[in-house]
Every structure is written in structure tokens, then in C-alpha cells.
Assembly symmetry: D2
Homo-oligomer: 413 residues x 4
């Protein structure tokens, strides 16, 4: 048996197939994938990786399985899935996931082929497991797949607490050890025991507060937009394939951006934290439906059109549309008065949080600092934003104090 010291869960014991899996190159690679992508450009301490997160998810899965009384091969499969649940991540985690998906049709949790034919597959087969079954669990299938990927999964319990520890933002500090203790399986469904409505709510609330503060902080979003644009150019202008990009780590990716002519400007900017700024930052009510729901190609056309109107390079305009709000946790099952109910049936907070997500939603258009005025005005007219100018220009006016948005950032944006 091996003991690993984790900054969040302290000592974690690893043995058997788990230990062999952690030793595979595919899992070791996660040491070089930042958990929060470019969020360290906002919160300098946020350098934690998918590897330590995977370790934490494995730990919480062990705890959860213990409390559920699940043992043997069945438990071993879930633990394996916990360890492997993130091996499909591209460099910088979710940052360029959509770019990869457009080219390969695969999201990070679609890992059947990744498990099939390398050391990971060998380790699984050597220990009597079918890689496909593990890949199914990772995709959230089956009754125990919920524990790995579902509305009450140990994945989000770990990341909330870990992201809080590493950013210094306390909002993610949930009572994870109560959550794993209160899990029950009823008729094949993962359910929180009687009296845990507040426990379930706390998970949603933590996410609702971490979203604007960390995950969708506007500087994180700007970096994400720049990295997405850079990745697209890398795929378009070099011989690097999307499949190869998906398997890179943060080192390879950054080195590749630096060495290609088409992307070295983005690499330099990100490396020196010389970031694009907001030209537009518009609330949902002011954005036409057609823009909110536009697909990738339509967005690219808008960008080109705005660039033309503003007389700037096409690379100088990035439109960033967040998806429409959704909340997986709202269907969490909780026992109330002896009856299994969905959280949204029980808690007035759930629909309120949907509303809050809509309030927090913003359309961003980003450009180099010197172009924000031209791009902002062009974007207003091209995208048909309902604004009297005040709204859009608000974030551009230099004297304006926009505390939340700047908070935690390392330099002026």
C-alpha cells in the first residue's frame, strides 16, 4: 500500500489496480494539465492540476462507496472510473474543449478509445476489468456511474473544495464529508438521506457563488477566448491535428503556440499577461436571441464583420457567448418525510438560482486595449445590441470602478 499526501484530503491510500492506474503515463500526464486552465492569471495561486483533483475524486469515491456498503469488484470499477474520469481532458482543461469537440466529435468524458489501447487498458484488463465498462461509468451510465458523473457526484464535491483552497476564495468550502456520508442507494438511484435539503442546497449555492467569482470571472473568460482562438489557428495553420492537440499537455501546448507564426502573438500576450480587454459586456436582456443561440460559424462571421467595420485585424475581435444557464444539481434526489423528491420540487432556491444565472450571464466581446472603442461600437451595430451606448461603454470608461470584475485580478483589465 502507498500513502499520498494531499493538501485537501490529507493522507490518501492507494493500492492494487488504483496504484497501477496512477502509475500509467495517461494519468501522470494530468500532472501537467491545470485544473482551472488560465484562472491562475486571475488568482495566482490557482496552479493545481487534474492529477491532484483525480486523486481527490478517487478518495471521495472510496469514502462514498464505504458509506454505501459497496465492496469488491463493483467498488473497484467505480474507483478506477474516478481515477480515470478526466484523462480525456485537453491542455488547460475545459478551455479548448469546444474546439476539440468541433474537430473530433469528442468531449472530455468520452474516453472509450482512450481506455482501449494503451497502458491504461492493459492495467484494467490485467485486473479483470473491461475498459468499456469503466468508460461507461465515466460517462455517468449505470447506477454507480452517478457517483462519478451525476448531479451528486464526487467530482464536483472535490473541485469546489479544492478550487477554494487554491484560489483563496472561500465560497467553495462545502461540507463534503457530510455529503458522502449521507448518500444512499434507493432503487438504483443515488439519494441524500432524510434531512439533507440544506446539504444539497449548499452544493448549488457554492457553485452559484464560485461561478461569477472564479469559473466565469471576466478575465478568465478573456483568456479562454484568446486560447480558443489561438487553438483554432494552430489547427488551421499548422500540421497539428485535433487528436494530437487533445493529447498534448500544457507544456506542449504552450510550446506549440510559441513556435507557430500564426499563434506566437497570442502566446506572447498570454505569457506577459498582456490581455485583450472588454469591448462589450452586455446583459442577456440586451442581446438578440439570434446572437445568444448562434452557432460557431455564425459567431465567426460576426467576428469578421465586426473586424471589418472596426477596421482592425480579424484576430483582434473575439466574441464570447456563454451557453444558456443550466443546473445539473437541481435534479438531486433527497428524502423528505420518507419520500424521494427532486431538489427543485423541494427547494425554493433552485429556481431562484436559475434566475441568478441569467442575471449573471454576460455577452463579452474582447479586443486589444487600443481597439476596444472601435470594436465596441462596431459590435453594437453588427450584433444589434439593445443599448443606448451607456451599458456597453461602461466597462470601457477608464475612470469607472468595477470592483467585482477586477477583483482578484493581477493587472488592470
Amino acid at each position: 500500500m502507498k500513502t499520498i499526501k494531499d493538501s485537501v484530503h490529507d493522507h490518501i491510500e492507494v493500492e492494487g489496480v488504483a496504484r497501477a492506474l496512477f502509475d500509467t503515463p495517461a494519468v501522470q500526464r494530468l500532472r501537467r494539465i491545470k485544473q482551472l486552465g488560465p484562472a491562475h492569471l486571475v488568482y495566482p495561486s490557482a496552479n493545481h492540476t487534474r492529477f491532484e483533483h483525480s486523486l481527490g475524486v478517487y478518495y471521495l469515491a472510496c469514502e462514498g462507496l464505504d458509506h454505501l456498503g459497496i465492496q469488491g469488484k463493483q467498488a473497484e470499477r467505480v474507483r478506477a472510473a474516478a481515477i480515470l474520469h478526466d484523462i480525456g481532458h485537453a491542455p488547460y482543461s475545459h478551455t479548448i474543449e469546444e474546439v476539440i469537440h468541433r474537430h473530433t466529435g469528442k468531449y472530455h468524458d468520452d474516453v472509450h478509445e482512450l481506455l482501449a489501447d494503451n497502458e491504461v487498458g492493459d492495467v484494467l484488463r490485467d485486473h479483470g476489468h473491461n475498459p468499456d465498462t469503466i468508460a461507461d461509468l465515466i460517462a455517468g451510465e449505470g447506477k454507480l456511474g452517478q457517483l462519478v458523473s451525476g448531479e451528486l457526484d464526487v467530482d464536483r464535491m472535490d473541485y469546489l473544495v479544492r478550487d477554494a483552497h487554491h484560489t483563496g476564495v472561500p465560497y467553495g468550502t462545502i461540507d463534503h464529508s457530510r455529503l458522502v456520508r449521507e448518500l444512499t442507494l434507493i432503487d438504483g438511484e443515488l439519494v441524500l438521506a432524510e434531512g439533507n435539503v440544506p446539504t444539497a442546497e449548499s452544493l448549488l449555492l457554492a457553485r452559484a457563488l464560485m461561478n461569477p467569482t472564479v469559473y466565469n470571472h471576466h478575465v478568465t473568460r478573456i483568456c479562454r477566448g484568446m486560447l480558443q482562438r489561438a487553438s483554432e489557428r494552430l489547427l488551421a495553420e499548422t500540421e497539428i491535428s485535433a487528436e494530437r492537440l487533445r493529447r498534448m499537455d500544457d507544456h506542449d501546448f504552450f510550446a506549440a503556440l510559441r513556435s507557430a507564426d500564426a499563434t506566437e502573438n497570442f502566446a506572447r500576450r498570454l505569457g506577459a499577461r498582456d490581455l485583450y480587454k472588454r469591448a462589450v459586456w452586455a446583459e442577456m436582456a440586451d442581446v438578440p436571441e439570434g446572437v445568444i443561440d448562434a452557432d460557431h460559424d455564425a459567431i465567426r462571421e460576426f467576428e469578421d464583420e465586426i473586424a471589418a467595420a472596426a477596421e482592425v485585424e480579424p484576430e483582434s475581435v473575439i466574441i464570447d457567448v456563454l451557453g444558456r444557464p443550466s443546473m445539473t444539481e437541481s435534479s438531486t434526489r433527497v428524502i423528505v418525510n420518507g419520500e424521494i423528491r427532486r431538489l427543485h420540487q423541494q427547494s425554493a432556491l433552485v429556481s431562484a438560482l436559475r434566475h441568478v444565472q441569467r442575471e449573471q450571464w454576460r455577452l463579452g466581446v474582447y479586443a486589444p486595449a487600443e481597439d476596444t472603442d472601435a470594436v465596441g461600437h462596431a459590435a453594437e451595430s453588427v450584433l444589434g445590441l439593445e443599448t443606448d451606448g451607456a451599458l456597453v461603454s461602461e466597462v470601457r470608461s477608464p475612470g469607472k470602478r468595477t470592483t467585482l470584475d477586477e477583483f482578484g485580478t493581477q493587472s488592470g483589465d
Copy 2:
């Protein structure tokens, strides 16, 4: 200058009038008033006191004043008010506050006469302050009174974080240092700067989760009910006056309960944690308006009637009605797009939290373990609870697992 080490805010510097105030017997007495009254019977580590809390409130007031740019005598007054804001507390803090109020007409923040004629008054006058002005600030009056007692006061910032540290329940862990940094005074009103809607929301959410888990945990409520009944008997059956009771500390109070015939049974039970149990635990919808809004005398009559019907001693029935939900923080002022708005205008969470409070509301009727059945049935009929029996008896059925309610408690309730 003096430096004091606090488990929450680390080093706190104290000098001048502040130091002299901390050295008065009236403030030193707060070392013997538990911050959360009997909550240590649920969370064994919750033994922190009003003294360390007052120290923390003083510290946050200093920080807030610094960020607001307020100095000199005006700042000194606010700091004095922060130190003194809780000297009006009776033993066990809020626990018997209503009992005291019925006899003296005073709540804990009504301290004009407490500041007038003892060492505290002397210290204040020696430093050129009018005790009445400080008492006004403690009551929340004036523009800086809001900082001490208002919807954005440093009082609640400290207690949330401190109660989390000492109970081990993480929900109170807010970003207090951001809150004090983002305060601004606009036209004499305390306002959170632009971009702090989530910061303001986090304060409400922390309270919404600490309420059912800590402050109104059903075992805390049972202990509170027993202590209130015991205090009433102490006042009725001994020569101790309400004014004297108000000035006691936890030591005096517990010793007094032990030495009076009328209360020694309560003292023994609380000392041995041999607590009353729930005979009724009913949701708001099932309780007649007349019971929800009944005054103290009406409640006492209900109790007597139930005791008679159940054929138990009058002391064996305690009815516990929480007040109707309210939420001070909902009127917090936040700047949104350059405009001062009230939080409830801006945040969908506020009305949802009101709803949640209603969901969490419970009527409790408590009795010795052996009497819960008799008392429960009598109470249903006397109070006219709309129930088919299932609801009320739920918490009494021994085999039933009621996780939240038991969680954190030290022994079976």
C-alpha cells in the same frame, strides 16, 4: 499598544480607549457568556464567548473604518461601540433574551443605562465621549451605526466566520475581508461597491445555511426552551430579579439554577444532557395562524392545557414558536451599473430565501422522553394542528432515521 491573538483574525492591536474598555469588568464579563448559548450541547466545540466575538467585531470595525477613510474621534466612537455592542447580553446570549425583555422591557442592544454609570461610562467620559452617543451607535442609529448594527454590519461578518471555526460547520465561511474592503459611504448610507451582488448574496446564503444547521438546530431549540422555562421559574420562585439575572454570567446563572428547588431539575437535566425530546415538530402549513402569532401568555395557557390533557406536570410541556421569518440583509444597498439598489430588488435569491425560511420553520413541542407520546397527542388536539398524526408522530417513532436533525448532536434526541 497591546496585541491580542485571536483564533479567527490572528493578531489584533488594541490601544487607547479601546484598551481601557476591554479592561473594564463589564467587558471582561463577556468572557463568561457563551456566544451560542447551549449550542455546545450539539456542537461540542462551540464554547466560544461574546468576549472574543467583541474583539473580532472591533477588529473588523477598524478594518472597515480604514477602508472608508474615517479617522479621529468619529472612528474612535465606532470602535468603542463595536467593543461594547454586546455588553447588554444576559447569560447564554440570546437564549433568555425574550424572558428578560418581558420583565425589563430591554433587549440586549438597549444599553444606555448600562453605559451611564459604571467603569465603562468613566472610561468613555475620560476619553471625551458621551456614553449616550455610543449607546445610540450600538442601537444602529446614525450613518456609522449601520456599521455596528445594520444590514451590512461587522457583527454578522464576525459571528458567521467565528461560529464556523468553532462548530466545524463550514457554511459560515464568508469572504469577510472582501466585505469590509468593498464598503462605501454614499449620501450617508453604507453601500457595497459596484460588482458586489454575489458578495452581498454570500452573506445571506451563509446565514440561510447556518440557521437550520446551527442556530436553529432542533436540539439547540430544545435546550433554549428548557433554559427559558427554567429562567421564568427562577424569576417567579426566587428573589432573583430580572435586572440581576440580566447582569449574571453563565457561571452565576448555572449556579443559581442548581441551587433553587424550582429549577434544579432543569439544571441537572442540562448538566447531564438528559434533554426533553420533540413531541411535535410541525411545518408552518399545518399550524393555525392563531398559534403562530400567539403571545407569551397564550402560549403558557396552551402549555397548561396540554399538560392537563396529557396528565403530566406543567413543567413537562414546552411550546417553542419561532417568529415569522425576516431577513435584515435583504435591504443591503449595492451599486449596480452606477446606481444604488437594494439587494432584494436586484437578487432573485432574496425572495427565494424568504421562502426557504418558511420551509424550514417548525413548531416544536417538547417533553421528557417518557411523555412525548401523551404530550404529542394532547398538543395536536389542543393546538388544532392539521395533521393526520403521521407528521407529528414522525419524529417520535424510534426506528426512524432523521439525519439532519440528529446530525452533530452528541446523544440521542
Copy 3:
């Protein structure tokens, strides 16, 4: 099963005999015994109790037994001993232990008769345990007694971490979960596995730093001296017996001090934190052997003699002699290169720490602020202190800054 939330070890599960023991009045009483006696007068947050500490010791004993592979009745006995190990404590823990011992011949870990004839004994016998066997374990006898009371016991692991959490002084923060993991039993002796010399050293170092900063902070020592003197007077001047004093809790004790004429002055002073000050604070080298090793009666005679010489009341002189340094942990067994060695054989730190303890040793003579000069000079001559006056008067000179000694204190001492 019952789960209790602890601020240090988070969720602690309690069942069977353990749960029944926690519910006895003798263990519940520990909720009213402060872990660090009067140290909260130096560190305001240090209000934690022997109850939560006992819970923590129970938790670490469970962990240690698990790692040692010990189960069944044998393990149950050790867990019971862990829960009960402190029930022999008098009010304010170690503070008045010597006073009690002089009158009853009993230290706090001599609990045979306390376990024999009350609910604790009943619970133990009901679960098939002999109370005497448990009392032996508490006294550190037998191979598993070492886990409860020995050089590597879980008692000190818990208190170091807990005292750090509640005082805010970080020095006690050891890696307790590594310590319990690395325990092994070899030939009936508790031993730390190979490679744990630094782990063992860390335990000593933590104590070496907590001693001057917390446990023997000079203000803690002054309060202790005052409480000891007050207890002696209580026993001498009232009908309260030493046996009864031993069974009191902090509430009873404080109330008793307040109500007796002979002690109410001490009660008032301690309640208002109007403490004695140092009249003498002398290093070991400057104190005659005869004073260092004087017994209680000799010390009392010195005190009377000093009082007479200084022309003050006998109550106004308190001599405080710490015992000669000792270090239990130095005999900790650690495996080094496959061989069991004692820590002091292996670690150069051990003898250094003995030296450090001697360096930190101080003789204190305390008196009311206005008498320190007279008492200081009288004490120098009566005790024969080797001093040119400078040393002894150092702490009395008002302008002198004595940082460490004042640090953390609430008011000038």
C-alpha cells in the same frame, strides 16, 4: 450510530459502549471543565473543554487501533479508556491538581474509585468490562495503555492540535494523522515505524514551542498561582472538602470562590482580569537549589516570611516554582535501520530540548501591582536569589518592553 461534528477532526462516529459512556453525567461534566484552565485570560479564544478533547482522543485512539489491526473487546477497552482518561480532572484541569493531590493523594489519572460506583461503572459492566481494567489503561498500564498514556499517546497528539486551533498559536500543528498511521506494536511496545525520527521529533518540538508561548505563559502561571491559593483557602476556610472540590465543574468552583469571604477577592480579581503582577522572575541559575526543590510547606513559610518582610497581607505573596524539566517523549521508540531505538539515543534534539527547558525555566513571585516592589525586594533577600537587582527588577520596570511575555495577553501585566 451517532455522528458528532468536531472542529478539529470533523465527523466522529460514536456507537455502542462509547456512545453510552459519552452520555454519562461524569463525562458530560467535562463540558464544563476548560481544557487549558485560565489560559483564556491570555488567549481569549482558548475556551475549549475536556469534553471535546476526550472526543478527539477517542477518535485518534480509534484510528490508531485500526492501523495497529486491533479489534474486538481489546480495542473497545482502549476506546473506553480514551473517553474516560480525563474524568478525574478537577475544575480548570491541571490548575489545582497539586492542591487536590495534597489533600486526597490522587492525581487526575487515578480514577479506580471514580469508575467503580456510578453510571460509568454500570455502563462498563453492562458491556462486559471490568472498571478496574479500564482504570489501569488510563494509568498507562499494559501494552495498550501506552496508546492512552505514554510517550506516544493519542492524548498529546490531540491536545497539541486542538490547543493550536483554539489559541491561534500555530506551533502545535503536528501531523497527527501520520503519527497514528506509523504506530506499530513490536514485542508489546508501541514503536514508530522506520523513517520516523523527524515525525517523533516534531512532537517534542511542538511541545517545546507551546510551553513558553501557551502552557507556561507567565500570565497563565500568575492565574494558576492565584487559583491555587484561592483553592487552598476555600478548603481551609469553608466546609468544602477536597473530594467535593475535585468533583466540581468550573461553574461550581467559580460560584464557590465568589460566595466565600475568604476567596471572593480572588474571584473578583480573576473575573475582572485584575491580576497579580510579577515581583520576581528569575532564571534557574540565580535561584538556590533549596528553593527549587522546596516542598509545599517550605514554600508557604517563605511566602509568609516575604509578606512579613514586605509588610503586606500573606495573601499578597505567591511563589510559583515549576518542577524540574522532564520530557516523556524522549523515550519514544523508533525503528532505525531495522532496530528499535529510544529517541534520545537517536536524536541530537532531545538533549538540546532538555537544555532549552532549563533555559525557559523561571521562578515567579507574584503580588498585587502596588506591592511588587516591596515584595520583590523582600523575596530577593528571603529566598537568597543571586542577583544584582537588575534581573529581578527587570520585569518590574515600567518602561521595559518584554514582548514575548506580554504577547497575546489582553491587558498590561
Copy 4:
């Protein structure tokens, strides 16, 4: 003014020249230099960077300067030095510092030329500072240089606490805020105020415990040895100059190792955590003086000789000799009884810690797992180790449990 959120010191305010310095590419580059080099291969959470550490050092310098009462340009210079003190670090921090030094003659704190001619120099000159003066401060020169680099510098206060936070090993948790409060300048020397012998000792003790557990954990040392060898080959076999290597970040460095034929095997091994193992692990007493004090060339000859004797590739033998123990902190000045003394004069711990360092010292010889036997035996004879074979082979025998050394590691070494 800008506020940055740090996971260790919470909110840190940055303005003026400090803000401009943080925005330079040279400082931004530190975001891509891991603070502990390869220690994340032992402690998976140890991914923190020189950037956040520099931020922390800046913060503690601000606090220290405040407490010392130093303001204006003089303080600004020290703050600038704090921000810039680590910009001379090569990839992976200290890991390849000796390699760089052999080729360039420069250690990481020799930054005169780095400050002279880039944006950093411009920023400094724009704000009226001479880059050379700042570089002198970074080298520890002048009375305030001690605060940045000296026996009591804020550098080590920050790294101990930060490394503890990110590894999860508690030993580094010192009372840094007390340390900066107790600093005084006397006759141009930085001194700890009266009563701080334990405070000074705690700094040494923290380092003494972090050394074997983290900084010189044997797996960290193996990785360091592999990275040093790889760097040497990179300089020898490619066109990359030592000056260019020094200015790379971790991304460039890892990419360079991967792309050169001479080093890609090391890159693959480190990436997959397929590390060399110990062939020899010998105590100081068993190693000839000539080996302990051998210079780089002599060591390279030993390595070649061992490889030849063991019939393995030259790349397969790495000799790792730690320097002879030293302890900067031992000359810390503390006021004792009104007199400035050096800590080693005052504290028995200091010489004990020197002894401990010697006890902890080990000579390591590392090789691929399959070659450890052959290399071990060859090394014993080539280096003339005084051993009966048991010592050296100890760590190679598979059944042997070597807890400390394995602790915290992710896979078997």
C-alpha cells in the same frame, strides 16, 4: 490600486511601482517556474510558483516595513527588491542552479544585468530607482537588504508557510505575522525584540522538519539529479546556451528536453514518473571525505568509472552529494535581557540542529531500477564506502519498509 487574492495571505494590495513591476514580462514569467521544482512528483499538490511566492514576499515586506516604521523611497526600494528577488531563477527553481552557475558564474540572486536592460529596468528608472541599488538589496546588501535576504528575511517566512499550504505537510506553519511584528532595527541590524527566542527557534525548527520531509525528500533528490544530468546534456549536445537556459520557463525547458535526442529519454521518464531508484544511500560517517568534498569534475569521473564497472550506460549513474550542512538562521539577532545576542549563543537548539542536519545527510547514487544492484556494488567499491554491504543494499531490498522515504510519494521508489 489593485487587490490580488492569495491563497496564503488573502488580499494583497498592489500599486504604483509595485504594480508596474508585477506587470513586466520578467515577473510574469515566474508564473511558469514551479516553486519547488520537481517536488510535485512527491507531493502532488505542490504546483505553486515563484510568482505567487514573490507576491507573498512583497506582502510580508510591506508588513515588516510598516512595523519598522520605514516609509517613502527607501521602503519602495525594499518592496521592489522583494518583488524581483527571484527573477534570476532558472526553470524548476533551485534544481539546475548549480549547472547554470558552472556555465555562467551566476546564482539566482545575482541579477544586476537582468535588471539593467529590459522593461524591469525601465520601470525602476521611471520611478526614480537605480536598478543596481535594487540588485544590491536582492543580494542582501545594506541594512534593509537583510529583510529581503538574510537570516531573518521575509523570503523564508513566506516559503515555509506557502510550502506547508501546498504540500499539506504542516511543519512549515510558523507564526509569520508575529515574526514581522517583532522585527526591530538596532544600529542598522535587523533584530527580534525581547522575548522572541522561541519565535526565532520556531523558524529553524520548521526548516529542520521540512528539509527531510519535503525539500530533500529522496524522491525530490532523484528527480533533481535526473534534471541536472538532463540539463548538462542539453547544454552539451544542443545549441542552447546556459544563458538561454537560465531565461527559459518550465514550459520551454520541458519542451526542449523532449525535442533533443540527448534528453528525450529523461523527459519521457520524468513525464511518466518512471524514475531512477537508489543504488546507494549512505550516511556521512560511511562516506570518505574525498567524496563528500569532491568537485563537479571529480564526481563526473566517479560516475563514468562506476558505469564502466557496472557495465551500464554513463547516463545510468547519478551521484548526488549534498553540501555540508549550514544554517543561516543561527546568526539571527535576538534581544535577551536588553542585549543583542546571536541565536546560537542563546539557544541550545542551534548546535543540536547542526547535528541533526549531519544525521540526516545522505549520499545518494541513483540508477534505473534494473541497474541498481550492479551500480550499487560498483559504487561501493569505486567510492570506497565504509560498509559491510548491508547499509547500501538496505534501500534496495524489496521487502524492506522504508516509511519516511516513501511517504508522500506517488509510486514505489
